[in-house]
Symmetry: none
Subunit: 193 residues, 4 copies
């Protein structure tokens, strides 16, 4: 009975994550989300201005939570450890929160130019942080003098590709630690014989 403030808002966000992940923006019905959250349709509108607003807030919420999660990894002092942890944490996170993965790894329909920009900016920030880390690593002599921006895209692209394989091919079972280890090695040493 003594629920914390924002309880309903959290219920709605959780339900929205589930429904949007399962059906996508256009197929997700406010009625479904409300039902899944255990609240009335009108209540959704007490907390969010519109369906679009709900989706946008959810997107940024998830993205920022994910980013915060990854920020710890940046602490790793050496590049090899950084890469391995980055892959391992990313894959574990996605494995543990498959609906979130489905939302974050998907491209979303152009809901809105502003939202689009917001999300693009969020993704860019992730790349920037990675590029910054890589630049520092290059200065420490841990990375060959390749473009940090290209390298960041290499890494991010690999994570996304693995994520797609692992989560959109739903019945695949895997060990994040093992894959992460191999992935990090491939990034560092290349595949050339």
């Amino acid at each position: 009975m003594t629920r914390a403030t924002g309880d309903k808002r959290q219920q709605i966000l959780a339900a929205a994550t589930e429904i949007f992940a399962a059906r996508g923006f256009y197929q997700a019905k406010i009625a479904d989300i409300a039902a899944a959250a255990g609240v009335g349709k009108g209540t959704v509108y007490e907390y969010f201005r519109s369906k679009k607003d709900l989706f946008q807030q959810l997107l940024l919420h998830l993205f920022n939570a994910h980013l915060d999660h990854l920020l710890k990894v940046v602490q790793e002092p050496d590049l090899a450890g950084f890469l391995e942890r980055l892959f391992r944490e990313s894959l574990s996170y996605f494995q543990a929160h498959q609906e979130i993965a489905r939302i974050l790894l998907s491209d979303h329909p152009p809901i809105d130019a502003a939202t689009q920009r917001l999300l693009f900016a969020a993704k860019q920030e992730k790349l920037q942080r990675m590029a910054a880390y890589l630049k520092a690593a290059a200065e420490r002599g841990e990375m060959r003098p390749v473009s940090p921006w290209m390298a960041a895209n290499l890494i991010a692209g690999f994570i996304a590709a693995l994520g797609h394989q692992l989560f959109f091919d739903s019945d695949m079972d895997f060990d994040p630690a093992a894959i992460a280890s191999e992935a990090a090695a491939m990034i560092l040493q290349g595949i050339g014989g």
Copy 2:
């Protein structure tokens, strides 16, 4: 008046490519596509069972055309040449056909489980072909004994990531050849110092 058979069908597919790319599946209206194709709304239904059917056929059409385009690259005898051509051709192709890039690089909202599977299968085939090429390269001693499947994802992920950067950040100008060259080198040699 003496248009070749299949003319209208092609007009519709071309218009659909443009409209779906610009607006996404749910925002694209059959009326818009028909207008862009210069035919009546009813005519669209002479050639395609439904909007979903049109989208699915378009998707596979584009994907197969893209795949065919890439198949020539597989002819390349050595891994380095293969990679460089793969990147160069992919980026050039996307640069020349930005609307197609927008469709192929996007994850589409779950139109339909069947369509989803179809598209997933198509993407898997691309990965399989790459993996097969890499396996052969490994046997030729051109690739270290890494998992061909992982390597294929590394490459495909990098292409997608670069494509996103280049085509969703619309005002970016770039030289496919230069980027392809650097990308191939990064894949082969890794980034480790």
Copy 3:
């Protein structure tokens, strides 16, 4: 089968007149109007941009038709004949088209500032025409030197008041000719003893 063009549009306008008159703007449901017109809901939107648009077009349509009807009366050469015909025609018209009376004699909720202005302007035109006729009558010596604008309001107000009595008190039966005759006399001679 060979209905004239604009047939559906006319059916809808007729149904809208009936429904708006019976229930007012906000209680009139598009579904009711469509049903009364014998068309599908969607069809209403083929001919009118929105419920507001339908109402506005109907309002102006009815008002102009009514105005046209009254314009003939202005032909009357002498003031007494003018007044008597004006009252008789107005009351007969309203008696014959009670739904129209209900719409024209009512003040409508502020649908829209633009519509409001439009309708106000239409009503003003009616007053202007009356005032112009009265001014001419004054110059012919048929009217005492009172303000034509005041006189126009006196007449229009009387018509509206009688209309209200007669049509909003639905079960009243009356003879337009008799009332018109008495009304014209009261306007001309006043009520003073």
Copy 4:
């Protein structure tokens, strides 16, 4: 803190007058009225059964207040004085309470058959009182032997028409005394030359 009983009820009625006048019944939101009254939404329902009930009570309240105001006029011993005071007081009252004018002079959408009847009855009472006064005046020889009911409608219609002109054409400035004087003369002497 030590507000008189009925204080809140009065606040709500005052706020409702303002909001209903500005927006009309359907556009007026209970939330707006509550906010304007400085009370909670729920409080409105402590004093009024429903929005309809609030509107109906307000309508009758305003109408009766207006009627009471006019009743003093009936005291006037002679018809000319009666008419001039009636016009002057009506126009002054409306000028001083424009929101009330907007409500009383408007026809309201058929909220409800019962409300409709109630309001119609109220308006009829006003006409009846006028007719009664006129009948007495006729017996005093101050009015020609015209139908008191017709005369009452002539007067009431004129007041309403003037009110519409003056209050719905918002930027008009005028002198009630001057207009009242001319109006009374027109009613008494007619406009005939």
